[in-house]
């Protein structure tokens, strides 16, 4: 049964819809910029992780190590680029 019914994927789908709803709520509810932004950032990162692990099957094959190394490498570069840019263009201008 467990082979036929993709429990993990279905739960993942429900969770992913939930995350989307929470993110959408930021638009409809009246909250401060900081609070809204925090919610958006947190839900966005969880969402991205969810997609990678549950729906793109990262971690299910023996390439696991290579895939996660790659993801972390990309993540580090992305974060440094984004925060470096914010620092240079806005915060420390």
């Amino acid at each position: 049964m467990s082979q036929l019914f993709p429990m993990k994927q279905v739960l993942g789908f429900v969770f992913s819809i939930l995350l989307t709803t929470v993110a959408l709520a930021v638009y409809f509810l009246d909250m401060s910029f900081a609070a809204g932004m925090t919610i958006l950032l947190v839900t966005a990162f969880i969402q991205a992780g969810l997609q990678l692990v549950v729906f793109m099957h990262a971690g299910e094959t023996k390439d696991k190590g290579a895939i996660y190394t790659n993801v972390f490498y990309g993540l580090i570069i992305a974060l440094v680029t984004v925060f470096g840019t914010l620092l240079a263009m806005i915060w420390d201008m």
């Binding site: 290579a66 440094v80 680029t81 470096g84 840019t85 620092l87 240079a88 263009m89 420390d92 201008m93």
Partner: protein
């Protein structure tokens, strides 16, 4: 006539009309020649549709050499203009166009295809594979690059060249200050070539990770393959940034968005920022494969294994990561605070450490080596001191407080030529001499080769060392002239003489190719340099399937093992070999891309729509095509092998 006015060059001169005539005549001559000698079929079957990594490599090489001369002519014109004060050889506008196209042509259309040539030709042979992972994608990469380069090159006879520098900073490159289509050429032509490069990145990472010969673990890969792997990883992370940047630039210039404008919420400095997020990793994409070539050449001609293999790999991995952390050093003077500048000063100096580790490894390889002074080795020996000088001035520039003095002066120009010429260009020439016999079955003449290396080096020192001095004296870069009173005259005259000597050097390379084609012996072995890695274990010329039997590998110097330690490389019987079929789609699709790009540049929207549809049709055709490749039978392999062994 209104419609045709847009194709006119906005700032014509006699030289441009002469070039138009020359280009026209060359095209006619090529077409007539092909028709007269009935070579169209040959060209189509053997080259335009090929998916063979070796032939694609050779086409990259030809394009790179062609572009080297285009960029070289630009360079000599700039040096001639600056040779004496208040010169009027070129006016300001022409000077702007020339330094812009010089930079782009040299970096994107000369150095990049040159390293692509090495990766294509060498990597599959070095890892004992029969082709790259996606041969047809590889052909598409090449043709997209080629069409991008050609599109860029017609700019100076159709519509006008870009003139905002190879960095194309906004707001200067925006429509307000650059009205002609020149900067559209920049955005679109580089975009097309860049897509090709990105595909190469994916293709080679897959090839290197998945197609190595049995026994070749990652830590048993030859150093050039390692450097290619790392360079391709950087490509995959850096080139999407360029693609997005150019798309934003295009939108700003042609669709009216405001990413980089000075009004309506745009931020002009963001261009410089994103440009260098790609730009700094790009310089490492160029230098790492160059380091790989030096590693091969130095260990071959020092007749011993590479010193510090693990630290070589480690330092490259570190460089690949650090290269993304330093981009801000290109605009220390843009107004951000001391904190930010200090952070990026530190990361910049940190990157000099792994680079230094590599230098010491080469020196230690030479120590206790039995050095053989061939032309490739001579280039490598000239590389070490000259490149180190460039690295040291890089560290000087990396100190943000001091950079206020150096930035945008000839000092900076001297720095980056000092790393790129002895670093990248010498590696290419060393590699060219080194791999020439494998490609064409004869060596390049050693005597002319050494003369060339010395001439280039003397020319290089004369051309670029004075720039450090005049830069410190305050000569700004990208100025088309200076007054007599400024006192830069003598330095610039020396530079011009140096540049002229280098030009002679580059002409000698062509002469060497001509001379060697006529006079050098064809009677050479498969391994004329007594080398250590797998590419020298197969026949010369390399058969289409590279290896009749896939080699088995025990160390990072498989051929050396076989020659000295009785290791058996090729075990077993011939089996039929699966090879990919040729295809015309990559070429045709890239031609459509060319028309797409041209129409986009001139905002001709109807052809843009039609060609976009055409591109999608090509992709659909590929998706629904049933092509499972073909087999080379054992009989054919036996015949080829006996022929090659006999020769």
């Amino acid at each position: 006539m209104d419609f045709f006015d847009r194709f006119a060059v906005p700032h014509p001169s006699l030289a441009i009309y002469a070039s138009m005539a020359a280009i026209g005549l060359t095209v006619i001559a090529v077409f007539a020649g092909l028709t007269y000698f009935k070579k169209w079929g040959y060209l189509w079957r053997e080259w335009l549709t090929t998916v063979d990594h070796k032939r694609i490599g050779i086409m990259y090489l030809l394009s790179a050499l062609l572009m080297l001369f285009r960029g070289g002519v630009d360079a000599i014109m700039m040096r001639a203009q600056l040779a004496v004060p208040e010169n009027t050889l070129l006016d300001a506008q022409h000077y702007n166009e020339i330094f812009t196209t010089h930079g782009i042509v040299m970096i994107l259309f000369m150095a990049m295809p040159f390293i692509m040539f090495f990766m294509n030709f060498v990597v599959p042979l070095q890892i004992g594979a029969r082709d790259v992972a996606f041969p047809r994608l590889n052909a598409l990469s090449f043709w997209l690059f080629f069409m991008g380069a050609m599109l860029f090159n017609i700019s100076f006879v159709v519509g006008g060249s870009p003139d905002a520098g190879w960095t194309s900073y906004f707001p200067l490159a925006g429509t307000e200050f650059s009205k002609s289509v020149g900067s559209n050429y920049y955005m679109i032509a580089i975009q097309i070539a860049g897509i090709g490069t990105l595909m190469t990145g994916i293709n080679f990472i897959t090839t290197i990770l998945k197609m190595r010969a049995p026994g070749m673990t990652l830590m048993k890969m030859p150093m050039f393959t390692w450097s290619a792997l790392i360079a391709n990883v950087i490509i995959v992370f850096a080139f999407p940034v360029l693609a997005v940047l150019l798309a934003m630039g295009t939108l700003d210039r042609q669709i009216g968005t405001h990413f980089f404008t000075m009004d309506n919420g745009g931020m002009d400095m963001l261009w410089a920022n994103i440009f260098w997020v790609w730009g700094h990793p790009e310089v490492y994409i160029l230098i790492l494969p160059a380091f790989g070539i030096y590693s091969e050449v130095i260990s071959t001609f020092a007749r011993r294994n590479l010193y510090g293999y693990k630290s070589m790999v480690g330092s490259m991995v570190l460089i690949s990561l650090l290269s993304f952390f330093v981009w801000l050093h290109h605009f220390f003077t843009m107004g951000q605070g001391a904190l930010t500048n200090s952070i990026f000063s530190i990361t910049t100096m940190a990157i000099a450490v792994p680079t230094g580790v590599k230098i010491f490894n080469w020196l230690l390889t030479l120590r206790k080596g039995k050095i053989v002074f061939t032309t490739p080795m001579l280039y490598s020996m000239l590389f070490i001191p000259l490149f180190t000088l460039g690295g040291v001035t890089g560290v000087m520039l990396g100190m943000s407080a001091a950079d206020y003095q150096y930035h945008n002066t000839m000092f900076l120009v001297a720095h980056f030529h000092n790393v790129i010429i002895p670093g990248v260009v010498y590696a290419m020439l060393a590699g060219l001499h080194y791999y020439w016999p494998k490609m064409f079955g004869f060596m390049l003449n050693e005597k002319i080769g050494k003369w060339t290396a010395w001439l280039l080096s003397i020319g290089f020192v004369l051309a670029f060392m004075p720039m450090y001095i005049s830069g410190l004296d305050g000569q700004a870069r990208r100025m088309y002239t200076y007054s007599e009173a400024a006192g830069f005259g003598a330095m610039n005259m020396i530079s011009f003489v140096g540049a002229a000597i280098m030009a002679i050097g580059f002409v000698l390379i062509v002469y060497n190719i001509y001379y060697s084609t006529r006079y050098e012996t064809r009677d050479i072995s498969n391994d004329p340099w007594d080398a250590r890695t797998l590419e020298w274990s197969t026949h010369t010329p390399v058969p289409e399937y590279n290896f009749a039997i896939l080699p088995e590998v025990r160390s990072n110097e498989a051929l050396w093992d076989a020659k000295k330690n009785g290791h058996v490389l090729f075990k077993g019987e011939y089996e039929k070999i699966h090879m990919p079929n040729n295809s015309g789609i990559p070429f045709i699709m890239s031609c459509i891309f060319f028309v797409w790009g041209f129409s986009f540049i001139f905002s001709l929207w109807i052809p843009v729509i039609l060609t976009t549809i055409g591109i999608f049709i090509c992709m659909a055709l590929r998706s629904f095509e049933q092509d499972h490749g073909r087999y080379i039978s054992v009989k054919e392999i036996e015949e080829t092998e006996t022929n090659l062994r006999g020769a």
